[in-house]
């Protein structure tokens, strides 16, 4: 028994030296939670060791152990604690459990708070973006909407007015003006607007199928260029290198050219009048 005890103590001392941060509080003999493998220890000693270990572990975790309990245990193994304290090099800091508990609580709360704040910030950002997109979409769809409304019933005339008022001031000025003009022209008198040929289900399905084909062949991701560019490349790479197709844009300033032609004709006419 004695050899066992001494072996236990030696083991405990060894264990203690390995764990630097363990406050030496309690008996030396029965420490070293788990590492001490001694079957011959008495139950009471083991129990006390376990409680000591628990207390030490609790202390490490910063959990509050009722001081009364502690003191009770300390009284039980008063002798042990004295032994430990005397062989310790560095004394632990005097931190009460409440303090450390409060500290820990505060830090956790801070962490949770920041996380929550960040989440809320992100949410706010996302929400603002979504709103912006919806607004833009509404702005785009607005004109089509208005067209449809005009198309269906007479009552919609008032809706048109309301829609126009609702329209954002950033809306394209020209479009708005056009709309105002059109609205002003069309809203006089009693009439209904309908399509000449009723679009049937077949024609709408045909349109949808053609749209599908068009989007697969010419839609986004189809990597296409223009015929002009293709021909220009051929000109560039061919045997007889020549300029790009439609190098000079022949249909530029059509109206100006027509105006100039007219002016020329009138000038010639004017020249001929005094002579005749």
């Amino acid at each position: 028994m004695n050899t066992n005890n001494s072996r236990c103590i030696a083991a405990v001392v060894k264990a203690r030296s390995l764990r630097e941060h363990r406050p030496a509080n309690g008996s030396a003999g029965m420490q070293g939670g788990g590492r001490v493998r001694s079957r011959s220890l008495s139950v009471t000693m083991r129990r006390s060791a376990m409680t000591l270990q628990n207390n030490m572990a609790k202390n490490q975790r910063g959990e509050a152990a009722p001081s009364s309990r502690m003191t009770g245990r300390e009284r039980q193994m008063g002798g042990f604690s004295l032994l430990l304290e005397s062989s310790d090099d560095e004394g632990p800091e005097e931190v009460t459990f409440e303090d450390s508990k409060a500290d820990a609580r505060r830090s956790m709360k801070r962490a949770l708070d920041t996380a929550r704040r960040e989440k809320e910030l992100l949410k706010e950002k996302r929400r603002k973006r979504q709103e912006l997109f919806q607004e833009q979409k509404k702005r785009k769809l607005l004109s089509a909407e208005v067209l449809e409304e005009i198309d269906s019933t007479k009552q919609e005339q008032s809706h048109v007015k309301a829609a126009e008022e609702e329209a954002e001031p950033e809306e394209v000025e020209g479009r708005k003006r056009n709309w105002k003009q059109n609205a002003a022209r069309n809203l006089k008198g009693n009439y209904t607007v309908t399509t000449v040929k009723q679009s049937t289900l077949a024609s709408s399905q045909l349109k949808a199928a053609e749209d599908f084909l068009h989007s697969r062949m010419y839609g986004p991701g189809s990597r296409r260029t223009t015929s002009n560019e293709m021909l220009s490349l051929e000109n560039k790479m061919g045997k007889n290198k020549s300029a790009a197709v439609q190098f000079v844009k022949k249909n530029w300033a059509c109206q100006k050219k027509a105006k100039a032609e007219k002016l020329k004709k009138t000038w010639i006419h004017m020249q001929q009048i005094p002579s005749s």
């Binding site: 199928a209 697969r216 990597r223 015929s227 490349l233």
Partner: protein, 696 residues
């Protein structure tokens, strides 16, 4: 838009010609959408994006025999021959059978499945399967005069884009989005599902479309999809055997040869890739589909393919039909091995009023009337003359209804205009120098929609071709036109008349139909005068000489015949020409003559025109022999005068104007040349794919 009169000075019995060079005919062909070849009849049926159908006779120098005008909203997606019958299916949800003798749809059947993407007939010719937008494959029984709905196969989720029957008629392979389904044709159940991989990279998020599919007799399935792959599957087990990535864009069309030893795939790049079933070793045991040739004959997407026994026929968004003979099936360096491109129609779309100097342009949806410009003075040969008054567009007449214009005509005096669609016929009176137009409302009821129209030279009669090769004659009068009679051909002529020619003295009318039959009628008696002996090739142009009353007929194989109507026999010149034979370069031309006219100043002249040249045939000069140079006009000009007589021959060919749509001689002896440069058409085509080339 040039109308630059030019003077051409050819001293050798040609005289001077002032040339009106017309480039303001904005003819724009329509993209080729689908094709079907009938091996039995050697005919290729072609469907264009505007709904027009064309029939080409591959055994007659690829002549465009018949043209069925389009229809708004027909949107043909697929064609199918069932024996001699032609069926089409379109995005309007209807299956149409065509009457090829009357050049119109016979009937349409609504499939009630939404837009139809594909059509296929089983090898027995008894069942027609169509693939619809709603995911059903519908089976129709082919009956004698119609088709009848039989049943639907198992409905799938997703549209059926392509389908192919197994030669036994028991299985159908259908290409859909992201997968291929194999159906049992008898039970209608879908037995296998073959999953097609999507493309890599950006295309991974897009569904892959199986554009085309082929089912071979050894149960191999070949599919082509929008990820650029041609995949070979085992149809019995439903497993993938091999994948060939042939392009970065879509592979839109597939066609397998009759003996299943070769297949071709058409891509969006404009290439056609051939695969052949070959074995890598000498013994024939381990045969495999190996990629062999690549043809790049198109600048835009290839959307339709047909694999005949000796050639690969392709067509697509660049509107040109290309026939590429395969050099292992034909003899090299012969006329048969040359590549053929059909870019323009084989019939005239321009009508010239010779007395009035007015041109009529026929578009599918409208007609345009233009007055030619004027110029004074003379110039050097080959130089341009100053234009005193430019050409002006007088009238643009839009057609009524949804059918496209089939044929149109303008009277020589410029006072009458007529056009016909498959459902209606309209006649207009033009007044005040062809500026104002008014419709003639009271038409005789016998005047039904016509395939070909022609006015008499004195503008007193209108001839309209009708069914069974007959011609309706109508007298033109101001308030009401009177029906004069119907010229009937001999019994048994069923094919439509595609050529009509009236003589200048008003006595004769010649008709030609697609069965190569040429009939001549006596207009005084309104009876059949004679039938020209049938020649094996289809006539492409003909005209009656004003003074000698000789009928000149040019055929699709480039042969020329001259037939005397008075004596009812071939003329001496024609016999001499046949005996000597035409020059080999003349016979090798690959575009048919579309117009024949005469020179009032010189009765020995015949002016013929095809797409790349016009030729003045001088019957008084010797015929070119085989050893002579055919295109000798340039060399002759460089020779001194006395030598020219020695070297000249009767075929004077001018190639200065290209892509000719019409060459005509006006009353004031000026030549009208209507050109349509191919570049103008190509620059208006839709977007081709962007190819990255080094150093650009």
């Amino acid at each position: 838009n040039l109308n630059v009169p030019k003077a051409r000075n050819r001293k050798i019995q040609m005289g001077e010609f002032k040339v009106h060079r017309i480039r303001f005919f904005d003819y724009m062909p329509s993209a080729i959408r689908a094709m079907a070849f009938s091996t039995r009849t050697e005919r290729l049926a072609l469907a264009r994006a505007d709904g027009a159908l064309e029939i080409f006779n591959f055994s007659d120098n690829y002549f465009q025999e018949k043209v069925l005008p389009g229809h708004d909203g027909r949107a043909v997606e697929a064609l199918c021959w069932v024996g001699p019958r032609l069926f089409s299916a379109g995005l309007n949800g209807e299956i149409t059978e065509y009457d090829l003798e009357n050049l119109r749809p016979r009937y349409t059947v609504d499939a009630y499945g939404g837009p139809i993407w594909t059509i296929g007939v089983n090898s027995q010719g008894t069942l027609l399967a169509v693939g619809c937008e709603d995911g059903t494959v519908k089976m129709f029984e082919v009956l004698k005069e119609r088709i009848q709905f039989q049943r639907n196969l198992d409905r799938q989720r997703g549209r059926i884009i392509s389908l192919s029957w197994h030669p036994s008629g028991t299985l159908i392979a259908a290409g859909m989005m992201d997968m291929i389904r194999i159906f049992d044709a008898e039970t209608g159940r879908a037995t296998h599902r073959l999953v097609v991989d999507r493309g890599a990279g950006a295309s991974k998020s897009k569904e892959v479309v199986v554009w085309s599919i082929a089912f071979l007799s050894d149960y191999t399935i070949i599919s082509s999809d929008s990820a650029g792959k041609v995949q070979i599957w085992d149809g019995l087990n439903g497993t993938l055997i091999r994948t060939h990535l042939i392009t970065k864009w879509d592979v839109l069309a597939l066609s397998v040869s009759q003996d299943e030893s070769s297949l071709v795939a058409g891509t969006s790049e404009g290439t056609v890739v051939q695969f052949q079933f070959l074995s890598s070793t000498v013994d024939r045991l381990d045969k495999d589909w190996v990629r062999t040739r690549t043809f790049k004959n198109h600048s835009h997407d290839v959307r339709a393919l047909a694999h005949t026994e000796t050639a690969v026929v392709s067509g697509g968004m660049d509107t040109q039909l290309v026939v590429r003979p395969l050099l292992d099936k034909v003899e090299k360096n012969t006329r048969e091995s040359a590549i053929r491109k059909v870019s323009f129609p084989h019939r005239s779309l321009v009508c010239c009023a010779k007395k009035a100097g007015v041109l009529l342009f026929q578009f599918p949806d409208h007609l345009e009337l233009w007055r030619l410009g004027e110029s004074d003075g003379y110039g050097k040969p080959g130089g341009s003359l100053p234009v005193k008054r430019g050409p002006e567009k007088l009238i643009q007449l839009k057609r009524k209804g949804e059918d496209h214009i089939c044929c149109s005509a303008l009277s020589p005096c410029g006072g009458w205009l007529a056009y016909s669609t498959v459902t209606s016929f309209r006649l207009y009176r033009l007044l005040n120098g062809s500026i104002s137009i008014c419709k003639v409302s009271k038409l005789p009821k016998d005047l039904r929609p016509a395939h070909q129209l022609c006015f008499s030279t004195d503008s007193s009669k209108l001839f309209a071709s009708s069914s069974n090769s007959s011609v309706v004659v109508v007298a033109l009068n101001e308030p009401e036109c009177k029906y004069l009679g119907t010229l009937k051909a001999k019994y048994g002529c069923r094919q439509p008349v595609h050529l009509l020619s009236a003589s200048e003295n008003g006595k004769w009318l010649a008709t030609a139909n697609t069965d190569c039959e040429v009939h001549v009628y006596n207009l005084d008696k309104l009876k059949l005068h004679c039938t020209v002996p049938v020649y094996g090739s289809c006539p492409t142009a003909m005209a009656i000489h004003p003074t000698t009353s000789n009928l000149v007929v040019v055929h699709a194989d480039q042969q020329i015949f001259e037939y005397s109507l008075v004596k009812k026999e071939y003329t001496e010149w024609s016999r001499r020409l046949q005996k000597q034979g035409l020059h080999s370069l003349w016979l090798e031309r690959d575009t048919p003559i579309t117009h024949v006219t005469f020179n009032p100043k010189n009765p020995a002249h015949i002016i013929v025109q095809d797409l790349f040249m016009f030729c003045i045939i001088d019957k008084s000069l010797p015929l070119p022999e085989a050893k002579n140079v055919l295109y000798n006009q340039m060399t002759l000009r460089s020779l001194p005068e006395p030598d020219r007589v020695l070297h000249s021959h009767g075929f004077k060919i001018c190639k200065d104007f290209q892509h000719l749509l019409c060459v005509s001689l006006l009353e004031d002896h000026s030549l009208v040349v209507v050109e349509r440069p191919l570049l103008d058409i190509v620059s208006q085509l839709p977007a081709p794919v962007r190819q990255k080339k080094f150093a650009t």
